[in-house]
């Protein structure tokens, strides 16, 4: 699993990337009450706002970690946003995407690097 400075994680699965937010990010957000997911098939560029996530406190955006295409979204989050707090690095993935430029992955951190980053 790789981690970004935007507190997202990426996990490779069948040549695509599964993307979610970290346990640390979920704790900072507080109770998540609303998730708005992108349309499947959307072409995105790195840093595009692709997901809106609202907690009891505030609205935040989740950015596309790399260039690519959204191939699948986790529709279960729309009905049960609290999943993001319950299992952010597991069940509560947000979307799957292709990666157009694998070199964009080079800057991402491993688990140890991320733990150091948030300290």
């Amino acid at each position: 699993m790789k981690f970004t400075e935007e507190h997202e994680w990426l996990r490779e699965e069948d040549g695509e990337m599964v993307v979610g937010i970290t346990i640390h990010a979920a704790e900072q957000l507080g109770d998540v009450v609303f998730v708005e997911l992108p349309d499947e098939g959307t072409t995105v560029s790195k840093d595009d706002e692709v997901v809106v996530i609202e907690s009891v406190k505030a609205a935040s955006d989740i950015l596309a970690p790399v260039d690519g295409e959204i191939t699948e979204v986790n529709a279960a989050l729309t009905d049960n946003p609290a999943m993001v707090n319950d299992d952010p690095q597991g069940e509560a993935w947000f979307f799957k995407m292709t990666v157009s430029d694998p070199s964009q992955m080079d800057e991402f951190m491993d688990e140890a690097g991320y733990q150091k980053f948030i300290r």
């Binding site: 507080g30 109770d31 009450v33 609303f34």
Partner: protein, 377 residues
Amino acid sequence: MSDTSDLKQTPLYELHVELGAKMVPFAGYSMPVQYAPGVMKEHLHTRAAAGVFDVSHMGQVILSGESWDHVARSFESLVPQDVLGLADGRQRYGFFTNESGGIADDLMFARRCETLFVVVNAACKDADVVRMRTALAPDIQVSEITDRALIALQGPRAGAVIAAMDVRADAMSFMDVADLTLDGVEVWASRSGYTGEDGFEISVSEEDAEQLTRALLAHEDVAPIGLGARDSLRLEAGLCLYGHDIDAATNPVEGALTWAIQKVRRTGGDRAGGFPGADVILPALESGASRKRVGLRPEGRAPMREGVEIFDAPEGGNVIGKVTSGGFGPTTGGPVAMGYVAIEHSQTGTSLWGEVRGKRLALRVAKLPFVAANFKR
């Protein structure tokens, strides 16, 4: 962002930190926004059992003079409420008005024997004290109480918790005030709050505040609750947050607060007018206003927060209002909001649209409160 060292601390600061609170700057104080369980659980706990809130940042002021009659009549020169008619041991909601008929601050005032005990908002308290010292009769003493904490215990179990400490609490109804002895500590209690639940607001000396709070928290039904849940609780209860839902440019008729202006101060009443902006507010009470504060219930799941513009059509159309408070209501289980809409769109059930992130989302004008009040009558 101001340096946190500039922030004032309440007498309960150390306890908040010990309890694991997340402290944030609020109205010049370092205040607990939430504890470990988080806003949602704290909110639900308050509605199910009881929560203790530190509201020591609020201003506490005592007005005294030669007689109750004199104090009350003088205070009536600043507020459109019936002060003189307040019985000993009773409290009322009110507000300072300004010359243009707007609301300068909202407040609670209580009669304690011959004196008036006033609780005002933290952000306005300095200006409120100046206002009272300047405008009240010169022989009235305006004493800002800076050596007392203010603690609220709110929720359906609050009555039993307090009555077990002092049985005299049992005789108190909503908006009664009394002196109680809780855990050996003398306090000034009112049966009121800011959550829509039964409960008490308790003024206690700063030396005794922590001991009393620990005694309350020792009860299995009682948990500490932060300002985050305080906000969602008051929003569901349809209660105004000063500076957001009402302000210096909002008159009480627009703010749907006419219930708080008693007949005796209105046109035709024995003590009609005589408060700042009466020339604006009294006619508005007769003729109504062009906009009104209403409840707003988004139909989808997306919260509509403060500042969201409200339209009269799903596309095109006109801006006819604005959200002034909004978020997720843990007890309602969905988004809830309050805001102002043009009077012709203010009827309960009216379909309107809020623009969130460039999209028009459906909402309906809703009755306030969103959660029925649970006061002890």
